[in-house]
């Protein structure tokens, strides 16, 4: 954008200086594009899991217990009940992705509404809403989700509910900051001065600017959420067995730590990958939107 205006003559034709908007994807930093590619591959495998030639993740033969890597028919070995690790990891990743993404989507919707209302309201409403958000912030997320998981009981849907509650406050706070910043920008003031209705300002001026920033932040949160979901599964508060879930696989494979550590590492690597990929993409999205790099 900047170098074209420097080299073109002052009386350039209109098309030459027209603002070229490249898609957000093409403006992503390299590391985020790589992360997005890997994630797309994982999602593809997970969606195609039912038609892939995988062993049954729920049953195995007890004579095949804790087979090492590269065993016949079990590339990543088997668990303590002889179930194929590749198959278990693929289906577990599906569960963990659902438990990772769905709560963030719901929490983003609710947090966006709370944050937008707080950002656009007067001092009293803003103070009440943001104090409530502050109080939710006073709970370490893991502890809050653990309490809710105990209260609601184990299961995928209750896990999703418990995790949703955890992420409403962080999203609401970011949304409020964004909206409060945008509210006083010139184009919003101009819209208000020209008599636009509150609804119109909200839909046409504020949300188009605040939404991408909040969505980028939410994308990053999926990583932390996958981590908490896995942690709850690790201590037995996730999806009940024998349904495969990354955290519970991690817990089951602890028995192999002293005999065949590489077996225990396989689920660790998958959780690590999921937790790191989403923030890489989210941070890249934020950089692409704001045009600021983390390192110049």
């Amino acid at each position: 954008m900047t170098n074209s205006s420097a080299s073109t003559p002052a009386v350039a034709s209109v098309p030459a200086v027209r603002f070229h908007r490249r898609s957000i994807l093409s403006r992503l930093p390299v590391r985020s594009s790589v992360a997005l590619g890997i994630l797309a591959l994982i999602v593809l495998v997970v969606i195609a899991a039912p038609i892939l030639p995988l062993a049954n993740p729920l049953s195995g033969s007890l004579s095949d217990r804790l087979l090492p890597f590269l065993s016949d028919g079990h590339v990543l070995g088997t668990d303590s009940q002889g179930r194929d690790m590749v198959s278990r990891l693929v289906f577990a990743t599906r569960t963990s992705l659902i438990a990772g993404v769905v709560p963030i989507i719901i929490a983003t919707l609710i947090g966006l509404i709370i944050g937008t209302i707080a950002g656009l309201s007067g001092k009293v409403v803003n103070t009440i809403l943001m104090r409530a958000v502050d109080i939710m912030f006073a709970f370490p997320g893991v502890l809050l989700s653990l309490l809710l998981a105990i209260t609601l009981g184990v299961g995928l849907s209750t896990l999703i509910l418990a995790l949703t509650v955890v992420w409403i406050a962080p999203v609401a706070r970011i949304a409020e900051t964004e909206v409060a910043r945008i509210r006083d920008l010139d184009f919003v003031v101009a819209a208000r001065a020209s008599g636009a209705s509150m609804a119109s300002i909200l839909l046409r001026q504020v949300t188009p600017v605040s939404l991408p920033a909040v969505l980028a932040y939410s994308t990053s949160l999926v990583g932390a959420n996958v981590a908490i979901a896995g942690g709850l599964g690790f201590i037995g508060l996730g999806v009940p067995s024998p349904e495969p879930e990354l955290g519970s696989i991690l817990q089951e494979m602890q028995v192999a730590i002293y005999t065949d550590p590489s077996l225990a590492l396989a689920p660790v690597v998958v959780i690590l990958a999921l937790s790191v990929l989403f923030p890489l993409i989210g941070d890249g999205l934020r950089e692409a939107i704001t045009g600021r790099g983390s390192d110049s």
Partner: protein, 325 residues
């Protein structure tokens, strides 16, 4: 009125306001803990007495426990007892909850303290590398930082356990101390791996904050002008870090929450008998009085740390103690 008195007045008002907010937050947090546990389906009397108890016995116990009173009365009664140090009875341990909490709290504070120190060291080192003059160093630090920031603490803990305790047995694989030893060095060697696992994310978060402060400062004329006045590189670095300190303390305060959360899992992996291991254990045993006690304690620790970080910041930040500058 002199500046000093105005500044002190302002500081006192700031701390007072924070204190009120903290008490308010603690009250709400205890409410969440109480009602979350009370909302668990199932009759506490049945859990305590077992399935072979008679309905009469259960009714009697419910009356003794106050379970037939209105919930709000129960809550305030419970809160009143907590304030006087009575956390209830941990039937799974056969001891009062307060007696179980004490030793666990000591272990968790030791672990958390060690993790905080490591986090500060990591934060300072990585923050300086991230503002290095050499681009490859900056890039590499960025990658490491991004990884540290989002790697779940329990996965890091498991990798450390497998690599540094099992494959290459440099450190003990678990517990707080070797039986029969228990000297400071012995405890320290047991804490290295779990504390490091907890410290990576907070350290990277602090590094990020330090990086921002230093690069903001580098854009100004302050450092060149100080250098022109003949300050040594060391003194220059002290000036640069002084500005970065308040935001770093805020980050550390917030990150204590992530350490406490992470400790829940990491203590289990390294068999450290702390609050995290206790909460997981008591969840498994359905000892809800104990879950309640531990959760409340962990949440209150976090709230107090946040308060401490705010107060420390107020003391350090010249904009609040104008008069003494």
């Amino acid at each position: 009125m002199d500046y000093k008195a105005i500044a002190q007045n302002r500081l006192a008002r700031f701390i007072g306001g924070r204190l009120v907010l903290t008490v308010f937050t603690a009250f709400f947090v205890s409410m969440v803990v109480f009602f979350a546990i009370r909302a668990i389906p199932g009759d506490p009397a049945l859990i305590l007495l077992g399935n072979d108890s008679t309905p009469e016995e259960r009714t009697a116990l419910r009356t003794v426990m106050g379970l037939d009173e209105p919930l709000i009365f129960q809550f305030f009664g419970w809160l009143g007892r907590i304030v006087t140090g009575d956390f209830g009875f941990a039937y799974s341990q056969g001891r009062p909850v307060a007696d179980v909490l004490g030793p666990a709290l000591t272990n968790t504070l030791l672990l958390g303290g060690a993790a905080s120190i490591l986090a500060i060291i990591i934060g300072l080192a990585m923050g300086n590398l991230a503002t290095s003059r050499w681009r490859p160093v900056r890039r590499a630090t960025d990658w490491v930082e991004a990884f540290f920031l989002s790697a779940p603490q329990y996965t890091v803990a498991l990798v450390f356990l497998i690599v540094f305790a099992v494959l290459v047995p440099l450190f003990p694989a678990g517990g707080m101390s070797t039986r029969g030893d228990g000297g400071p060095l012995d405890v320290a060697s047991h804490l290295v791996l779990p504390a490091l696992a907890l410290a990576l994310a907070p350290g990277a978060q602090m590094a990020r904050s330090l990086k921002t402060s230093i690069s903001t400062l580098q854009a100004t004329e302050l450092l060149p002008s100080l250098r022109a006045r003949g300050l040594s590189p060391l003194r220059l670095s002290v000036h640069a870090h002084h500005n970065a300190l308040p935001p770093m303390i805020t980050v550390l305060g917030i990150q204590v929450g992530s350490m406490l959360g992470g400790a829940l899992f990491v203590e289990n992996i390294f068999s450290i008998p702390g609050l995290g291991a206790l909460v997981v254990q008591s969840v498994g045993l359905r000892d809800y009085q104990l879950v309640q006690g531990v959760s409340l304690l962990v949440a209150v620790i976090f709230i107090v740390v946040l308060l401490a970080a705010d107060v420390l910041n107020a003391l350090l930040d010249p904009r609040i103690r104008v008069g003494r500058a």
